[in-house]
Symmetry: C2
Subunit: 199 residues, 2 copies
């Protein structure tokens, strides 16, 4: 039987390089997967139900919220998104470490509902470097960049709920930190105490 | 300035392979050191004060206990041993991860006095394997081996104070776990929160 996986929540300012760090860290690993969210929006062309999202209607979504079946959820102007607890737990039971890339508010909800989740905050080396990265992308206007930097400062204030901080200065170091955290979390007393019972 | 080091407390039954794991894990690293104990016993030929031990008299030892200057201490028939807090903290401030190889009772004292210490319990893969290792050493009589196995069972009952369990089945895996724990602990929020202040 595979060892039970962990739920890894990743947050961090836009431009900190979350996806790059995670993708580098999980390269070549077969014990990792991403969480699949439920959403009330319609599938876009090419999107597959159960792979990209679980597409559900508003009534079903509301039921899931009321029954506590979502680890976290958020509603935007027209649509709602959430993380289905049963799906995540099934993946963990199958031995997968499940990655959930969400914002601070969602991370807080997850921590309340699943305290054993591992919360990692990805930090850029400095605000100057964050600005440089956002500018060099060339996709955002000056106003949008200023808004992102302001938002980053707000997010940093909330970072104290996280278990770990990874500074994404050099991508290889950050990916190594991520892998080490994962390995260490599998050595946690709470994760391994069942071994003591066999003695 | 070097990043502050961590205090790593290692315990585990005799025969679990603590020293082997630690020595493999610190090979080639310049950021690790072992703690130096104070003791009231006399130096043996070749032992150097301040290197093997800090040799002090009983009165000085008692003073250190009363002033809370020892992270843990134990007295045996004729002599006393302890871990000097100031020495450990100096090493940590200089950027060293300090390794302290002690028994469960001592680990409990350290955790009370320095909650940020990282406690690792090294476990053999099974009691059968522990017995096999103790027998294959060829240094202990059957009675001593039985006593060690009984003692191991007692120690396991106390393991819940530890932060991590490393199973020493294959030495390379166990050393990798040790290194990962160390790296992860350096990413802990409490260890890195000062970085947020610079943003």
């Amino acid at each position: 039987m595979a060892e039970k996986g962990k739920l890894i929540v990743i947050s961090g300012p836009s431009g900190a390089g979350k996806s790059t760090v995670v993708n580098r860290a999980i390269q070549g690993r077969t014990d990792m997967c991403f969480s699949t969210s439920v959403t009330t929006r319609s599938p876009r062309p090419g999107e597959v139900d159960g792979k990209d999202y679980f597409f559900i209607d508003q009534e079903h979504f509301q039921q899931m919220v009321e029954r506590g079946e979502l680890l976290e959820h958020a509603s935007y102007v027209a649509h709602s998104y959430g993380t289905p607890r049963a799906f995540v737990e099934k993946q963990m039971d199958d031995g997968y470490n499940v990655i959930l890339d969400i914002e601070v508010q969602g991370a807080r909800q997850v921590k309340e509902k699943m305290p054993e989740a591992v919360l990692i905050f990805i930090l850029p080396p400095s605000m100057e470097e964050l600005r440089r990265r956002l500018e060099s992308r060339g996709t955002d206007s000056g106003d949008v960049i200023e808004a992102r930097l302001l938002r980053a400062k707000e997010e940093l204030k909330e970072a104290s709920i996280y278990d770990y901080i990874i500074v994404n200065d050099k991508i290889d170091d950050a990916a190594a930190d991520f892998a080490a955290i994962l390995k260490a979390e599998h050595c946690r007393f709470a994760h391994r105490k069942h071994l003591l019972e066999t003695f």
